[in-house]
Symmetry: C2
Subunit: 223 residues, 2 copies
């Protein structure tokens, strides 16, 4: 039994790969480089996490088109990454148009070509309600596209076990499974140390604080 796990190298996707392993799947770790500004750091994190959990395969794939299309602060260096703002509403500037549709299409081709049984994606709808492609309804719609768009006899389950969980709940699960959070990288900004103030750092730090723990990765001074 095998599962393609979308592994960015961040806190959620690293926990996800451990969940898939815990459920008895051999992990086909798929890391996609779509031109996000922190890719070098993310790739290293994903590779180390895949090695730590004993993935069957670690496959990094370049996805050039999302960077070419732009329209996101994650992929366009001319658009700055905003700090977390609790009063912000609507679509975050870090939204990459239909990113998860692309990640899932790639994962589906990989799963079908390898005869895998499932795809795991670490979308989390609570903190990322502004991202349309993180919502459970989108995941359900994509499951139907997989069912109808792959060869007859193919059965690939799309698993999004964190969709309804808080970041704190995800962290608690990961700590129970021994996820090496010191190897992971979540920050949206490039740098040797995580910035501590972007949305991604904000939610990560909040989760560690809620459990009364220190995050083991280094942050910039003052963060």
């Amino acid at each position: 039994m095998r599962a393609v796990c979308l592994l960015s190298g961040g806190m959620d996707s690293s926990t996800l790969a451990y969940v898939a392993r815990d459920r008895g799947y051999g992990v086909l770790a798929l890391h996609l480089n779509y031109g996000q500004r922190t890719e070098a750091r993310e790739l290293a994190a994903a590779r180390e996490v895949a090695r730590a959990l004993g993935a069957v395969e670690f496959l990094p794939i370049p996805v050039e088109h999302l960077r070419v299309f732009g329209a996101s602060s994650l992929t366009d260096p001319s658009i700055p990454v905003a700090d977390h703002d609790p009063s912000a509403a609507g679509l975050p500037g870090t939204y990459v148009p239909f990113r998860n549709g692309n990640l899932l299409a790639i994962a589906t081709s990989y799963a079908e070509a390898r005869g895998a049984d499932a795809i795991f994606i670490g979308v989390q709808a609570l903190d990322y309600a502004g991202y349309p492609d993180c919502r459970p309804a989108f995941i359900r719609a994509f499951q139907r596209a997989i069912d109808l768009g792959t060869a007859d006899g193919t059965s690939i389950r799309l698993e999004a076990p964190f969709a309804g969980l808080s970041k704190e709940e995800i962290l608690r699960i990961g700590l129970g499974l021994g996820v090496p959070y010191d190897l992971t990288w979540s920050c949206y900004r490039a740098g040797d140390r995580a910035c501590g103030t972007c949305d991604s750092c904000h939610y990560r730090l909040e989760a560690f604080r809620a459990l009364g723990l220190d995050d083991p990765i280094p942050y910039r001074e003052g963060a």
Copy 2:
């Protein structure tokens, strides 16, 4: 009003781009190189067709992962392309796992980033009934994934005007719109001239013959 048109450079997709233009859309021609063995010829054809119809933009994009995953005679040079066989049933060897799911995900990102109103895809279900990702039910499922997975307020119509048409009907439409078929390329096999015997050549030649016309592209001797 703008539309992303998936333009491989073949007979169907070239006709499709002319249909979109005829419906009043400015054409954003998207050509995807997914490692298919005839890519050099297809790219040249797509570029010339886009120029001929006056596309607003012609964007070729490399899609490396479908070649990396393999499992198709179109993308794996070690698997030969079969001749057309009227008695063949099931999945053709040219099937690329979830190819159209990937093409549509890329087109959706492009359309959302550019604020386009529609995506045109030239799937044709009659001759290609063996390809799951050419069926109308898959197209409908993907429309729902687009509606749920793009930003609120985004509206992108997925148009597959050839889904229920025969190749002959598509050709008749294209001739009426002045599609320059001499610029197009349909053959699955690499070569200076089309082979005349693969599935794609077979259906193309059959359509021209049904209308009592000669196909203007060169074929290998004996084809």
